[in-house]
């Protein structure tokens, strides 16, 4: 029969009993909210992490002291290992035949200032030659760091456009002297803007020669060495070569474990996928339980509604409503009810995801699929848990229903 009329009746009932409706819908709301929020959150994390990792470039692996650490114990053990030095980096550069690029890296967060203007928490990068490829940087003004800058431990830097904006508004920064920590550096280049990835600025950094970095700020710091293989198929070969060189340099006997790490981006991705997989399983559990409870509450309220409206059902039948008309009416009502809960859940879920995205560096991405999923879940709950009360309504005897007080 008339779909619009049934939806109207359901919405009218929701409006008439606001508190009762909210309590009725709470389970559905919580179920849908958690699904939407977690999917948005995980989706955002996925993008963030894969972009971060892909940023490092395809076919890149890293040699460093810690390797791929997943526990406190492993970390403490790794801290006792010998550091990876610039000399190791040089050896790898000469020894790994299948590498197209070997870049030594150091890093810190330090304040940067220019004539009293202070910029905190700038990403200070010590980099060897080839950093522009690994960090994916293009020059907008001036020049890149050169090999000779590194060899001579020059006090020069290339800065990101956000640093320019903050410290040199309306000025040409090239040739200016700024302070990184306690040291004066000359700006030789400015990179092109990369924008933000989920709230994280990619333009707030200063890159200096890695040897300069080590000499001034990290005498005993362990270097991480990014190695890019010639192509996809030579990635395992390049890794093996790097391992052999490092083991040779450290005089490890056969059978002794590596005392350094060789890590590909896949390792991070795998761990990450395991993590988010776990989050998903927990969410599905929470959502299933709250949707089940929500469904039972809806069923209960629909049974009450059928009883309250026994006479109405009798009247409708006496006026020519078929069983299927009554069945449809109550199914549409329960589905409208649960869909209303679903809609509220979707809104709260999106709100939560956006809130998390706004107040933390963790990004959130709301996608159309998760909204669709929320709508589907809630309508299924309505249909499934509404069918028993609806069937009861449809079976009512018109004579007795008309007499019902």
């Amino acid at each position: 029969m008339n779909l619009r009329e049934s939806i109207g009746i359901a919405l009218g009932a929701i409006r008439a009993n606001k508190l009762r409706s909210i309590l009725t819908l709470l389970g559905t709301i919580i179920g849908v909210t958690s699904v939407i929020a977690v999917i948005s959150f995980v989706e955002g994390m996925n993008r963030f992490v894969s972009e971060k990792l892909i940023n490092a470039g395809a076919n890149v692996f890293v040699v460093d002291r810690e390797g791929f650490v997943t526990s406190q114990e492993a970390f403490e053990a790794a801290m006792k290992r010998p550091i990876v030095s610039l000399a190791d980096g040089e050896a790898l550069r000469q020894g790994v035949a299948h590498a197209s690029l070997v870049v030594s890296q150091l890093g810190a967060r330090l304040p940067v200032n220019y004539r009293g203007k202070n910029l905190r928490g700038v990403d200070i990068r010590g980099r060897g030659a080839g950093y522009d490829l690994v960090d994916d940087l293009a020059i907008a003004q001036g020049r890149h760091l050169a090999e000779t800058d590194d060899a001579r431990r020059q006090m020069v830097c290339v800065i990101g456009p956000e640093v320019v904006e903050e410290l040199f508004p309306g000025m040409d920064p090239i040739g200016k002297q700024l302070r990184i920590g306690d040291f004066r550096f000359e700006v030789v280049g400015v990179t092109q803007e990369k924008g933000k990835i989920f709230g994280q600025s990619q333009d707030r950094f200063a890159t200096i020669p890695v040897r300069t970095f080590q000499k001034l700020m990290a005498e005993r710091g362990s270097v991480s060495i990014a190695i890019k293989s010639v192509d996809q198929s030579s990635l395992p070969l390049a890794q093996q070569e790097a391992r052999n060189i490092m083991r040779g340099r450290r005089n490890l006997r056969p059978g002794e474990p590596d005392n350094f790490g060789v890590t590909t981006s896949e390792a991070y991705l795998d761990l990450y996928k395991n993590l988010t997989g776990g989050i998903f399983v927990v969410t599905i559990g929470v959502a299933a339980i709250s949707l089940f409870v929500g469904g039972i509450v809806i069923m209960n309220i629909m049974l009450v509604s059928v009883t309250e409206r026994t006479r109405e059902i009798g009247i409708r039948k006496a006026l020519g409503a078929r069983r299927r008309d009554i069945l449809t009416q109550f199914l549409v009502e329960s589905t409208t009810l649960s869909l209303a809960g679903g809609a509220i859940g979707i809104l709260i879920g999106i709100g939560l995801a956006l809130l998390v995205g706004a107040v933390s560096p963790l990004p959130a991405a709301v996608n159309f699929k998760s909204v669709l999923l929320g709508i589907m879940m809630s309508s299924l709950v309505g249909i499934f848990f509404g069918s028993y009360p609806a069937a009861r309504a449809a079976r009512l005897d018109p004579i007795e229903s008309l007499r019902y007080e």
Binding site: N2, R316, A318, L319, G320, A321, R324, P398
Partner: protein
Amino acid sequence: MMIEIRDMFRTYEVGEEKVHALNGVDLDIEANEYVAIMGPSGSGKSTLMNILGCLDTPTAGSYRLKDKEIRKLTDDELAQILNREIGFVFQTFNLLPRADALHNVELPLVYAGIRHEERRRRAKQALETVGLGDRMKHRPNELSGGQRQRVAIARALVNRPSIILADEPTGNLDSATGEEIMVAFERIWRDGNTVILVTHEADIAAHARRVVRMRDGKIESDVLQGDVRARA
């Protein structure tokens, strides 16, 4: 023949006991008759009315409505008969409390599958016929008893059924208002409708042109009184 009832029985089982609410009834009603069915409570008149209204089916015997054997119909066909052939007027009005007068009158047309605009138009017309053209947007609790019953009459008429079946239509009204309602039935009958009235009040039954009296599940008497009350 509009209605043909032959040798009809209706038996209820109450625990071990069998109660014969209808115990061999034969009754013919022609189109455009105005019949009152009378009798004390327990006489079987309510059972007869339920069966005439297709809300109940007999245990034995035959009920033909416009040459259709009602016992042989499926649930959906019965619903269609209720929708197209029968217009109920109840003692307690039985309007939907949350719907306004117009919507209440529209309901039979909803189940007849008639489109929205057409429904509106016909429901308005029916309400105007019973003199409630200015009360369409009122809900039942905003109307007097007589007005409610007139909404119910408009609802019974709106789908142009074959029979108007009224069960104690004045039972919940004061006598002046009851008299108004009986005037309305008189006009409905004059317009060519078949009207069947179930009542235990003699002065209400006096409006009809034929009075069927029931006792113990059987017809006790069946009297024409058309000569008593001449047509105006």
